[in-house]
Symmetry: C2
Subunit: 689 residues, 2 copies
């Protein structure tokens, strides 16, 4: 009988290769998995429950967080706050290393350039966007018209609401949604743990479980110089999650690629990922070389190195999954099924089938341009990036709003200015070192006759150009940047600042590459993606969530340990384990602990849970996401995934294979705040409401 059932299940799987797995999906709030929640967890949240969760889930730079008091208090990860913290640190006040706690509100430190936003409301604008695109004479013209219509929608909305309005594409262009966001730009640091407590185990324990990391921080948003009122906060759970309990995770997963076609995946596997790896390795090594000069240099380079190491480890896992022929065969089977189903409906087939061919053709031409696209930039230097942004800004601002690059459209200019004028420290020696390392590698990869290299270096050596540009530029001073930003296009065009002249020289090359890519790849992807999405809707209905793209999503799953090799991995870890791992490695880096924690060991209730795992479908960007129980209480902060989940960019990995998200336990955070950080004020604020 059991065999019959298993056979039946296998048949089901074969005829319906796109069936959702348990706990799969990063869902939009307009289409939450209500059916799965009810069936699997007997959970039926009200509209109010969902609205409150959405409004309590602010977007942080590159990641997520959660409002945890009515007074603008946000909980997130240390590694999410790390860029803010690093910018507030100096050689003599190293908050990254030493952590921080503001005993009073007056002690909270204002971040130089952070922006935090909340998704206030949303609206489906697919029809309007596609109607405009439909008037285009060809793919490129349609692309221009689509883009212009989006700019118009954003501008109208911004004008009428005062909110940051962004049109978001879902299902590779199958849907367009207008997202209206409230923005907070006065962000202050309330509390952060020492990096070595948050990142205990370093790169080794990253994507590893069991794990023992105090990866948390608290920020507060202000309005008019006072803590912002955030009535839609979530309560903090004192006890945290139980084994087997349902949890919901909301946040901003960065990017998945589960709906890509086989042609797109092949490109990723054979060209895109290896090239990306090369780029990130170059960036990492550039920082590493600088960090080796001394402890202060290591401090400056630290956050960047950590970020690239993290990205590289994830990319390696993703690529490992992609090169596995069994995984790839499954993707081919899925695509074949969709196209076979389509073929049975000739009307649809005629309309949609050409999309695959056009995508395949676009990707055929991409490899020969890929290295140029990847290496023709100066992102390794913040000063060079600023120069380039100033030059491009003036070119773009001269155009009507809807014809500009998306990031220079009116709706995004406030954020752009905040970033450009940030008073965050810039370290010229590091800039020089990393930009030089990058330019040498670009020269090696592209060759001396490449247009970007010609423009950047001419006949000079990289040393000569980079040294002069970094040493003589005045762009380190925010008032200089402000003058150039607010000055005329002419002023930037006449500037003799050597970093600006470098930026002016490379601008036409970078622009040409970008336009080649938009015309030959992005526009084709938008047109074909939209068709394939509609084909998928026609065949399977709207049962799959769209790929993640840094917008607000909701995931769910159970708190649950798993099998690994021949043993069991527990659903939670405790402070006992932190000290075991610390001492097992004789307190050696990266398993050393800050002295404050070693000193307070006997004060801590070591049986308190520290980290825990759950089956929710998450990915990079979900860092700092609240892990919420069915009462809407925060039981933890998402901060990592385990090894088994690393390749989930391209497909959901079933929980039976041991894939898990990893969170910091809410009770562990309270215990640490009380016993290690003596942050009674913060504990009171978290627990009194």
């Amino acid at each position: 009988m059991k065999k019959l059932i298993a056979l039946f299940q296998l048949l089901l799987l074969l005829v319906s290769p796109v069936a959702l797995h348990a706990d799969e999906g990063m869902w939009t709030f307009d289409n939450p998995p209500l059916k799965q929640w009810k069936e699997r967890y007997n959970f039926e949240p009200t509209k109010e429950w969902l609205d409150r969760l959405r409004l309590a889930s602010p977007k942080l730079p590159g990641a997520s967080g959660v409002f945890v008091s009515p007074n603008g208090l946000i909980a997130t990860n240390q590694h999410v706050a790390a860029s803010i913290v690093a910018k507030l640190s100096t050689k003599d006040r190293d908050l990254t290393k030493d952590g921080f706690y503001a005993k009073t509100q007056a002690d909270e430190i204002k971040a130089q350039d952070a922006e935090i936003s909340v998704l206030v409301s949303y609206e489906n604008v697919t029809d309007r966007v596609e109607r405009a695109a439909g008037t285009g004479a060809n793919v490129a013209d349609s692309g221009t018209k689509r883009s212009a219509e989006i700019a118009t929608i954003e501008k109208e909305c911004g004008r009428s609401t005062g909110l940051k309005c962004l049109v978001v594409s879902l299902y590779s262009g199958g849907e367009y949604w207008l997202y209206r966001n409230k923005v907070y730009s006065d962000v202050r640091l309330v509390m952060v743990t020492e990096e070595q407590a948050a990142f205990f185990g370093g790169d080794y324990d990253n994507f590893t479980y069991p794990r023992y990391d105090l990866d948390f921080a608290f920020l507060r948003v202000y309005e008019d110089g006072k803590p912002a009122k955030t009535p839609n906060y979530l309560r903090w759970s004192v006890t945290g999650p139980k084994d087997g309990e349902l949890v919901v995770v909301s946040g901003y997963p960065g990017s998945t690629a589960r709906l890509l076609t086989v042609a797109q995946l092949k490109y990723q596997r054979d060209v895109g990922n290896p090239l990306q790896k090369h780029v990130w390795e170059t960036r990492y090594k550039a920082l590493e070389q600088y960090a080796e000069l001394g402890p202060e240099q290591a401090r400056q380079a630290g956050p960047g190195m950590r970020s690239f190491a993290n990205s590289l480890k994830r990319l390696t896992g993703q690529q490992d999954g992609l090169v596995n022929p069994r995984n790839f065969a499954q993707k081919e089977a899925e695509e074949k099924d969709l196209r076979d189903q389509l073929a049975k409906k000739p009307d649809l087939d005629r309309q949609f089938a050409p999309a695959w061919e056009s995508l395949a053709k676009a990707y055929d031409g991409l490899p020969r341009m890929s290295s140029r696209l990847a290496f023709s930039n100066v992102a390794a230097s913040r000063l060079a990036t600023i120069a380039q942004q100033l030059v491009t800004y003036h070119i773009e601002l001269a155009k009507p709003n809807e014809k500009r690059y998306a990031e220079y459209r009116d709706a995004r200019l406030d954020s752009f200015r905040t970033g450009l004028l940030s008073s965050a420290p810039i370290y010229p020696a590091m800039e020089e070192s990393t930009l030089l390392y990058w330019m040498k590698e670009a020269l090696r990869v592209l060759g001396p006759n490449d247009p970007f290299i010609r423009a950047a270096l001419g006949d000079a050596e990289p040393e000569e150009v980079v040294k002069r540009a970094v040493r003589e530029t005045k762009l380190g001073d925010p008032t200089v940047r402000k003058a150039l930003l607010e000055g005329s296009a002419d002023a930037i065009g006449r500037s003799t600042d050597p970093m600006v002249t470098l930026a002016r020289r490379i601008e036409p090359v970078v622009r040409e590459l970008r336009e080649w890519n938009e015309k030959n790849v992005s526009d084709v992807e938008a047109a074909a993606g939209s068709k394939i999405a509609r084909a998928r809707f026609a065949v399977y209905g709207r049962s799959m969530p769209p790929d993640a793209n840094s917008n607000l999503r909701i995931s769910y799953g159970a708190v649950k340990g798993y099998d690994e090799d021949t043993t069991l991995v527990p659903f939670k870890t405790t402070f006992f384990g932190l000290f075991d791992r610390n001492l097992s490695f004789d307190n050696k880096y990266p398993f050393d602990l800050p002295q404050r924690i070693l000193d307070r060991r006997d004060k801590i209730d070591l049986s308190t849970p520290l980290n825990f795992v759950y089956t929710a479908d998450t990915i990079g960007g979900n860092s700092g996401s609240p892990v919420v129980n069915r009462n809407g209480e925060v039981v933890g902060l998402n901060f990592d995934s385990n090894n088994q989940k690393l390749s989930n960019r391209y497909w959901y990995i079933d929980e039976k294979e041991g894939s898990r998200a990893v969170g910091v336990h809410s009770a562990g955070i309270l215990e640490a705040l009380r016993k290690i950080y003596e942050a009674e004020g913060l504990v009171k604020e978290l627990t009194e409401f």
Copy 2:
């Protein structure tokens, strides 16, 4: 340059497929790896150092131990002492569950039937054995002559020395050694931990690391009613091993099969291992079914279940290694190399090459007999085994010493009697349950017309035969056994005890099968094995240690953590980790701890090391082996291996693949003795000398 070196190393590997890996080998004391020690660890032990280690390494039933005081005190694992402890336990005094500590010498409890021996001296007798075998007219006759000569050597030695003299075959018969052993038969229990402390994590954490087990016990050997004098004891290290330190492990590894031919390995892979798995699973399930009846039944069945679970987990790992085509191809390449080298020396080739063909032929005929050989026995019942031994004993004793089955020869009769007459408890209900389960499975596998089934059951149902035999037998009483042992062959032949009559019925079938196997397989193996061993000596020299076969060996390696997935596994664990794992699973079985340990948590210095890993080449039977530093001090007790090492029966697994032996740390044992077991007397004895 690096590439050239790598290529060169690859070539080296290709031309010399039998090259030893780092830290490989379970070496005999007559041929220790002095060269490797000097080259790799700059370690040059004296003869006295080696002699002392040998004399301090007693053989325990199925495993190993170490003398740790001049007064006969032996340290070993709880799971090694478990069979002794189980026999000393009753429903009302469950030492397995509760542990034990004898506060005074008078409290030490005498084991019913344990035998402990020490290898006093040894001598190479290959020439004498082979000379005798050389007079044989054919393979079978040679086998008989070889066997008779061995019996004669053992008897002569026993008579002249009073020691237990055994001739041991090494290199599948390439060498024969006379081992002279001093035997202690008065063994007393001094201290043992609770099984749940020793086997914390149960079968899940078996063959797992990081691990947190207090797997230790202390026994004492007595002579003439007083603690035996054991001047060759080893000192106990108070601090234990350091990261990277050399350690040496001496003990009695049970069995490896690294020198088997491809034909032999194929048989293991395709027939032998699956059949062995079937047998052990049957034995395990029989006990499990009984254990489910209640806690007292579970107590009775516990040690057996634990032993079969352990064997099954190891067998599964071994078989996983063997079915891996890459591993198998390596074995084929090794054999091909040996035969290719031989082929270059026609003299040797003529002499030795036929050995492979004769072995292959012998194994061709084995599969059709395998199920009969595996299932035609009554080992599932101790009472039935006793009956069978009594019947066989009288048949064998009627023959001259050198013609008997090896286990009934004079040199081994003392041990045989100790076992047979043991007053260890026998549980009739368990006997009935497990024997019945076994007979039903044997009936299912062999069919009703099989000779063993016909002899055992005739036309009766298994229930009828088994119930009557177990319920009516008097063999539970050791005095009854003694009378039958010391009585005449006629007395056993006339006994109407239904267990004895069952044994008499199956005896001819079992004997016929055994003789078939000896003639068609074992004798061929001995003859061919000896030839292949000599061929190997001729081609490669005596650079490889022989396969393990439960005789004294010495292994070595470094204390060393390893990489696993993308993280690091530490070289040691601490008591912190024990409580982390306990609480991570909410103190649930099998991660629960005895109340005594939970109660004393705050007394323990939790930073004390508990378990640790090292690269030494060990296998089942090395349990309880001392792990010794270069000063000859005990730094730990070997008790497990990790997953990565599971298939090392068939080949050495390099430490770079993460294979490790696992030991209990000497400092952890001292801390537990002091703080948990309050065994100050024992601590004093361990540390005062």
